[in-house]
Symmetry: C2
Subunit: 414 residues, 2 copies
């Protein structure tokens, strides 16, 4: 039996024991995990150093090396993250609904863990700890498949997590790392129906696309954000400029950053020059359509590709539109169903935008940057779903659960 099947079987067999743990038992295991991480910092950093050295030798980009790098502070942040997860309310066991039928059957819908979760992710080793903590909190077993560039770090982290679990009531086998990072084995993992209940890919658009195309296990699609801000005719100019600057520049590398600004033509005639000036002061490169370029000379022309682009950088696409309908049409055509904003003083247009834009989070007069677990008040999040099934938008702990109906009778038949 290969490593994948061996670990998948192990996870499937511990899943019922995990589902039966109390919130206290799971929280205790999380506290042990946090402590063990801190206590094992030297070991973790040594192993991480091997990945960094290999990454430097193979010419990884500085950005990737930075994501890969662990420090004593980052380990402390991971431990703190785990402690925060321990403090969240345990969703498992919640009675979602209950009712009695005329024939005396008592029906309850109870929240239960999903079972075994497969996580596929890229370089960052903190996802290893994050995913393990969130899955454990919700009573799920987890199969982690990180990238080969982080293999030493991930092995060290999972070893430390398992040590912590051994001290707890939680089975140490509940968290497994797939050490074979070949593409072939990943493809086998994507089709492990009967062992994995769900796959959650976290990473770039290409990773997510390949999981969606190849998986037969149900997938939760996360994270790609080609987000828009639409500045309506009646938008307050100062507010609009502040929101676009925040959406684009406060942290350009994240999925809820703004990638395209759509501007009503009347507003553009009066204020586009001011918006462009403000963006240029922040070193934002603008790629604009012909109408915008006619109003503000000297802008780089946008191509069709720019409307599709998730730049994750200080680049912004810009288009002048005739009305809110045209803005909605553009967003529904090019958006990735993540976060979309309208800046307007016209309630009718806001209502139309909220009704017709097909996305997980819709904002009126606020930055798209608020699509975030902590900003929503959910605490830790598993990711941001851009699909419509199961979980949409921010995924808090309940997104890692399912439900079952339990029905009590006294011999009822049909």
């Amino acid at each position: 039996m290969n490593e994948l099947m061996e670990k998948a079987k192990m996870l499937k067999s511990v899943a019922p024991r995990l589902a039966a743990l109390t919130a206290e038992q799971k929280n205790q295991a999380l506290i042990f995990m946090a402590e063990q991480l801190i206590a094992s910092a030297d070991f973790i950093l040594e192993e991480n150093e091997k990945d960094i050295a290999a990454g430097q030798a193979s010419g990884l980009s500085r950005a990737l090396l930075d994501r890969l790098q662990l420090t004593r502070q980052r380990i402390e942040e991971m431990a703190e993250g785990i402690r925060q997860v321990a403090e969240l309310t345990d969703p498992v066991g919640e009675v979602i609904n209950s009712w009695e039928r005329p024939n005396g059957l008592k029906i309850e819908q109870v929240r239960v863990p999903l079972g075994v979760i497969g996580m596929i992710y890229e370089a960052r080793p903190n996802v290893t700890v994050d995913a393990a903590a969130l899955c454990l909190k919700t009573g799920n077993a987890v199969l982690l498949r990180g990238s080969s560039s982080a293999i030493h770090s991930n092995k060290a982290l999972v070893h430390v997590i398992q040590q912590a679990l051994e001290k707890s009531d939680c089975p140490a086998d509940a968290v497994q790392l797939l050490e074979d990072t070949s593409r072939q084995t990943a493809n086998q993992m994507f089709r492990l129906n009967g062992y994995l209940d769900v796959l959650i890919p976290r990473g770039g658009a290409q990773l997510i696309q390949s999981v969606i195309e190849q998986a037969s296990v149900p997938v939760i699609e996360t994270g790609v954000g080609n987000c828009h801000m639409y500045i309506d005719e009646t938008a307050d100019p100062q507010m609009a400029i502040a929101l676009v600057l925040n959406g684009k520049t406060q942290r350009p590398s994240v999925c809820n950053a703004v990638e395209t600004v759509l501007v009503h033509e009347s507003w553009a005639k009066a204020h586009l020059q001011d918006l462009v000036t403000a963006l240029k002061e922040k070193q934002v490169e603008i790629r604009a359509d012909d109408k915008a370029r006619a109003l503000v000379p000297g802008l780089v022309p946008a191509t069709e590709q720019d409307w599709h682009e998730e730049y994750l950088d200080l680049i912004l696409a810009m288009k002048v539109v005739a009305d809110v309908e045209q803005a909605i049409e553009h967003i529904n055509r090019y958006g990735t169903k993540h976060s979309e904003a309208i800046i307007s003083a016209t309630e009718e247009n806001v209502a139309k935008f909220f009704q017709q834009v097909d996305a997980a989070a819709l904002y009126h007069n606020a930055s798209t940057r608020f699509t975030d677990g902590f900003e929503f008040g959910f605490g830790a999040e598993i990711g941001i779903s851009t699909q419509k099934l199961h979980a949409r938008g921010l995924m808090g702990l309940p997104a890692l659960t399912s439900s079952k109906y339990v029905i009590r009778g006294q011999g009822q038949i049909r």
Copy 2:
């Protein structure tokens, strides 16, 4: 452009208009649909006759021909089904959650349609009407792909539905039938991400398996039921026998019928003979393990395959187990996560069964036959999900919806 792409684009383009319809507008359209079906009964029966004639010529089984056959009464039943859907509460627009953040952002989670639903199903033409009504009620556009053996009936029904929609505020394009029933086009449909938001297969295990394996569009897995009853040591003998008889014989052809009975060895020693006698009186063929055969001579031996089988017939697999743990293990190994029952007077064993059996609906002292939309009080159902994502067990109208977050601010930035 082929038929599939043409219809998929049409559906995607009408979806936002459907999402904006009021409950009254949708209910009015449903009433028109019911009326038009009755008014067009002659036309529908004529077209259905073509399918029946073709089916007879190609040697379809009597059971399949019966499923295919429409009658004036069946058309009236379909119309009545639509009227019942009209009377259900519209889930769209429901505010699932709402809260305010310390920074003044007001967040609402609102229920919305899924968008465009793809239904793939087998011979029965009533699924065409059923699916159209449920999708319309929830503001979804729907692409119907029935089997080639029902093509004339399905074309006639969709034509009639579209005639009805033309009289209503609902776009007539909202319901489309894929007339090209080739396997190649079905495979293309399964991978139509960006146009279809979900695929729901309804039919036999083979159809569902092939959709799961081939689809990249998210799938809701439905309906295959290898359901068990476990008779515990303390089960009331009369109740246990009545429940097994009901689960197996009241309607053997449906997914919530019992396929295997697991019997605690002490109970078996005292009562297995009575259970077998009762089953034989109802013409049930029993396939039993060695322990059961030792207690009741003359039973057919069960093979490994019998534990996997969804007979949908008057055949029952039977196994004697040592305790509730062994019963749970058997169910989690061979079950299809549909409906499972324990008959017992020992609350501790019931609790263990409810906790550890991984299935959508768990029964104590009641028949598995209650897993049904009307029996649960949901009214019409879309199917019974045997997966854990999105919807589990009985799918009422909310299973055909998603949600979006709408956030109102006054210029908040991060």
